[in-house]
């Protein structure tokens, strides 16, 4: 694996997407400050931050990954002196690089605008500042991690299938079937209610969930690189 070549490809992708990424980061940051306009604006901030995450996931996946095939730039990239695995790795790295800055801003806004007022809870808690910061970071990582699992799955399906249809099917399944199903059914399950309470208290569910999120992301990346190495056609 040639790290220099991977770096060049990542730089290329980020350079081509820098305009939209600046806009996403700006909008995600603005979302955190909307409540300053009045009490009714908090919900607007949450919606805006969520829309940044959804829009960003679509834009990075469809633009950077599937866009190469649609805009016929894939033969140009694949004719360069690279291995297919290097191209796949570069796509993963550049997509995560492009995803993380605006997504981090959106995740900060979501934690800040969360219905669970973490800051007030912290103020009434007798723990040290360090413990508060650590706790805040854990919740931030939880939100960002959950969305990164979603993003990784969509990204993997785009890289492996190179098909808009399959990628949209994965997005639809995750968002509308799995996501909606979870929202409708989970609150009725006693086990889930206990899990959410434990998360809010910062109990063992918090590090466990973070661990599961990290493991899921690692598995998706490993599966993507493995499937890519088995391909026989690259354009």
């Amino acid at each position: 694996m040639n790290a220099e070549v991977v770096y060049r490809l990542v730089k290329k992708d980020c350079s081509l997407m820098r305009g939209p990424l600046c806009v996403y980061t700006l909008v995600a940051s603005v979302a955190a400050f909307l409540p300053a306009l009045g009490p009714g604006w908090k919900g607007m901030g949450v919606t805006l931050a969520l829309n940044v995450l959804i829009g960003l996931s679509f834009h990075v996946t469809l633009g950077t990954v599937l866009g190469e095939r649609e805009k016929k730039t894939l033969p140009f990239v694949m004719s360069l002196p690279l291995r297919p695995q290097e191209v796949a790795l570069a796509k993963l790295v550049s997509s995560y690089a492009m995803f993380f800055l605006p997504a981090a801003a959106a995740a900060v806004s979501l934690v800040f605008l969360s219905p669970v007022d973490i800051f007030t809870a912290m103020a009434h808690d007798g723990r040290s500042i360090g413990a508060h910061v650590l706790g805040w970071c854990a919740y931030f990582a939880l939100v960002l991690g959950a969305w990164t699992v979603f993003f990784s799955t969509v990204l993997a399906s785009a890289i492996v299938t190179e098909s808009l249809g399959w990628t949209v099917a994965v997005i639809t399944t995750l968002l509308f079937v799995f996501g909606n199903g979870l929202l409708q059914l989970a609150p009725r399950l006693a086990l889930f209610v206990r899990y959410i309470r434990d998360l809010q208290r910062g109990g063992p569910s918090l590090p466990l969930t973070l661990g599961v999120e990290l493991l899921a992301i690692a598995l998706v990346i490993a599966a993507t690189l493995w499937l890519q190495s088995r391909k026989t056609s690259f354009v």
Binding site: K71, F76, P81
Partner: protein, 241 residues
């Protein structure tokens, strides 16, 4: 140095609807090979196998003496590829592309790039999406030629070009040929192949039906298309019989 630009032995690639099969073909370095065949005959697949964009199911492929796909990055570093269905990044300028390519190819020749910019009347600061199809093909050729490839593979390089741009492209390829570079190209235009190729390979139905010196196929004032149609027709009759 290996004297063969390419060496194919019993190369096979099967798709759902057609199969490229039993392709054995050699090209000596410094020569130009024209691939002629109908749409879907397998010309593009063959060119893509040579560049490792498609992996053959069976057979041996050697390019510039290196085995494909084992030595793919090494081969691609020495081979230039331009295809009619290839595009550059529309939102970026030609200069951005030149900078990007320069970082990947140590043998990038800045002076040659400048000379090609002038010859092709291209402006480096121009965005690709603002270029005509002809200018885009010239830009692709510039990015390929400025890194001095030992072998140039072109898939329908003159398709969709107006007569003036087509002549510019053909002139550039003629210059390369005279400079002793190896060239393999596919084209629907018999006159382009007659004009440029030292040897011609006819591909039909996924098979190599004939391969010889161009002069043999155009003997007695015949046109290449005519010879191709006769060979294909004779083959079809043979199959029926």
């Amino acid at each position: 140095m290996e004297s063969k630009a390419i060496r194919l032995r019993q190369v096979r690639k099967a798709y759902r609807h057609y199969t490229l099969d039993g392709i054995s073909l050699d090209l000596t370095r410094g020569r130009t090979l024209g691939l002629v065949g109908q749409n879907g005959a397998g010309k593009s697949t063959l060119l893509r196998i040579l560049l490792g964009l498609v992996r053959a199911d069976a057979g041996e492929t050697e390019v510039l003496g290196w085995r494909m796909p084992e030595e793919k990055p090494r081969i691609k570093a020495r081979v230039g590829f331009v295809s009619e269905d290839m595009a550059l990044y529309g939102s970026a300028t030609l200069e951005w592309h030149m900078d990007f390519i320069r970082t990947l190819y140590p043998n990038w020749d800045r002076m040659r790039a400048t000379a090609l910019l002038e010859r092709f009347s291209l402006r480096p600061e121009q965005k690709i999406r603002g270029m005509s199809r002809g200018q885009q093909v010239k830009a692709l050729l510039l990015l390929t030629l400025a890194r001095s490839p030992d072998l140039l593979i072109l898939d329908e390089p003159t398709a969709g070009l107006d007569p003036i741009v087509r002549q510019d492209v053909l002139n550039e390829l003629r210059t390369l040929k005279e400079a002793g570079r190896s060239l393999i190209f596919s084209s629907h235009r018999g006159e382009d192949v007659e004009d440029l190729a030292d040897e011609v390979a006819f591909i039909h139905g996924g098979q190599l039906v004939a391969h010889a010196e161009t002069a043999q196929f155009v003997r007695g004032g015949r046109r290449l298309e005519q010879t191709f149609l006769e060979i294909v027709s004779a083959q079809s009759k043979g199959r029926v019989a």
